[in-house]
């Protein structure tokens, strides 16, 4: 560039100014989208807290649900909490071993094409409406046997399975190939390398996947509608019997004409929300930690 045609940097052309304006606009839109996403969560938490807090008391955890919304008779969700815990535990006991094994198979042993098919299948399964899963388990286990916590556990485990398998596989694939080679170069078989090198390296990620799956199952409603009764007011611990659950108490209470039931539903919603939020936050934090740990090995 000759000195004659040199233009000073300051006071640049209109084009540059236009580009800068556009940049500002797009930045603003992106920021707005981020704010909306956070605001939605904040509004949900605030409104549930506002309506749920007044009904949050010791009775909520020590009493069973009331039958006809009469104050003084029951008025808690003890049976629902116990039911949700047991059914989620059944589901997790099924989905975690299955999901982890599936992830190990697809990331370590399956040929590339089969691994891809498994991955696509899991994605499809994750997208199946949960009410369809409920109907499926209804036809499979409930018809002829009646409602049971087992059936609900199976339905919830189908919801959990893709969550566990996909996140576990993601973590297993993060484990660098060099560690697999290191194990095998020392004379370990493939299976032995998976057991003694890959899994210990990825265990943080698997715990995370489990926690996130638990949080997911605890909040599911639709699979329960078809598999366990919505009128189970007593504390039940026998898994062959239907159990109450927090999501269905919320569902029931919100439909109830009794103001008391509605209050209890809000309180139950708050309990569920806090539980799920804590679960998924802990899960995400652990996930970050384990990812960092794996990245060190790269």
């Amino acid at each position: 560039m000759s000195t004659a045609s040199y233009q000073p940097l300051a006071g640049s052309s209109g084009r540059a100014a236009r580009r800068r304006r556009w940049g500002k606009v797009m930045e603003g839109l992106a920021t707005l989208a981020a704010i909306v996403a956070i605001a939605v969560l904040a509004i949900v938490i605030i409104s549930v807290a506002k309506k749920g807090l007044p009904a949050l008391n010791v009775d909520l955890f020590t009493q069973v649900t009331s039958t006809f919304g009469i104050p003084g008779q029951g008025g808690g969700i003890k049976n629902a909490i116990i039911g949700t815990v047991i059914m989620t535990a059944i589901a997790t006991a099924i989905s975690v071993p299955l999901g982890v094994l599936l992830a190990i198979f697809s990331s370590e042993f399956a040929p590339a094409r089969l691994a891809l098919i498994i991955r696509i299948t899991l994605n499809v399964l994750a997208g199946v409406p949960t009410i369809v899963i409920g109907v499926f388990v209804f036809g499979l286990l409930v018809v002829g046997n009646g409602y049971s916590a087992y059936a609900a556990g199976v339905a919830l485990s189908i919801v959990q399975l893709p969550v566990v398998a996909r996140s576990t596989e993601e973590v297993l694939l993060l484990v660098p190939h060099s560690l697999r080679e290191a194990g095998m170069a020392l004379g370990a078989s493939r299976a032995r390398t998976v057991l003694t090198v890959i899994l210990p390296t990825a265990v943080g990620g698997i715990v995370t996947a489990t926690i996130v799956a638990v949080a997911r199952a605890a909040g599911e409603t639709a699979p329960l509608l078809f598999t366990t009764g919505i009128f189970a007011n007593a504390v039940v611990t026998d898994p062959t019997k239907p159990m109450a659950s927090i999501p269905l108490v919320i569902f029931q209470g919100s439909e109830s004409p009794s103001a008391h039931d509605q209050e209890v539903a809000w309180a139950a919603a708050l309990v569920l929300l806090v539980g799920v939020l804590i679960g998924s936050s802990v899960g995400r934090l652990l996930s970050l930690r384990s990812r960092r740990r794996i990245e060190q090995t790269r």
Binding site: P111, A112, P176, S178, L179, R180, E181, A182, G183, M184, A185, L186, G187, A188, S189, R190, R192, T196, V197, P200, T201, R293, I294, Q296, T297
Partner: protein, 313 residues
Amino acid sequence: MSETIRPEGTPPMTDQPDQTAAGNSPDPPPEVASARPTTQLGELAGGHDDDPTVGHPTVFELENVSVSYSGMVAIRDVDMDIHCNLVTAFIGPSGCGKTTLLRSLNRLNDLIPGAAVEGRVSYRSEDLYGADIDAVEVRRRIGMVFQRPNPFPKSIYDNVAYGLRLHGMKDDLDGRVERALRHAVLWDEVKDRLKASGLSLSGGQQQRLCIARALAIEPDVILMDEPASALDPISTQSIEDLVEQLKAEYSIIIVTHNMQQAARVADVTAFFSVDVAEDGSRSGVLVEQGPTSKLFIRPSDPRTEAYVTGRFG
């Protein structure tokens, strides 16, 4: 001749034959340094009196070896002998298949879908790819150190003990771990923190930990795939010193991009190059191999000369 540090129990070095090559050639190795029973007599490659392979039986004999990945030939028609208790270097430009060839020597290529080895790889007169050969046992006897240090995310102790536990060598585990770490000249640096993570070490220390891990299970051969290429010069020096010491007990094959490194550590050097066929397909070929001093000073192939003098690659 220089004093090399020898582990206890190895026989003293015998007198060396006169060196005829120019002054910067590496120290010729001892005539018989192996404590192991020798299975067959070494061949005299050319019969030069400075031939470092004199008195060293072969550990690998490659006949017409080609390695391909899903039909793409990475290296072809390699005929070579590799001798015991010497350092053999594979040098050559990128893509010449030297790492591929190295990985076919402990059957690590088995792990890559589509990889196929043709020809015959004999290890101490046995067909390495024979039907009754267990790849796991192959890898116990033929250890490997990789380009980038890859310690397990376990403690220093557990890194070394991993292979020992794997192969049931659990008697005197502490002693074996200590010996391996001493052997890899890492013991003094880590003896007070054996429970610390292997990943807490520096790059050079990590690589020596990986060498200790390989040594612990008492291999016969150690394959090294550019073991110092990810390290700083000082760590590189320590790895090279280590290689020099280890050859008294082990046969070492080292792939390197660094010709000075080959000149410093290798007794025998094999030069590989890329051959471009008429249809444009590329594959690696062995151009020549011989005593390192000869290869660097009097190469017999113009391609070798061009490479070692820096005119190519």
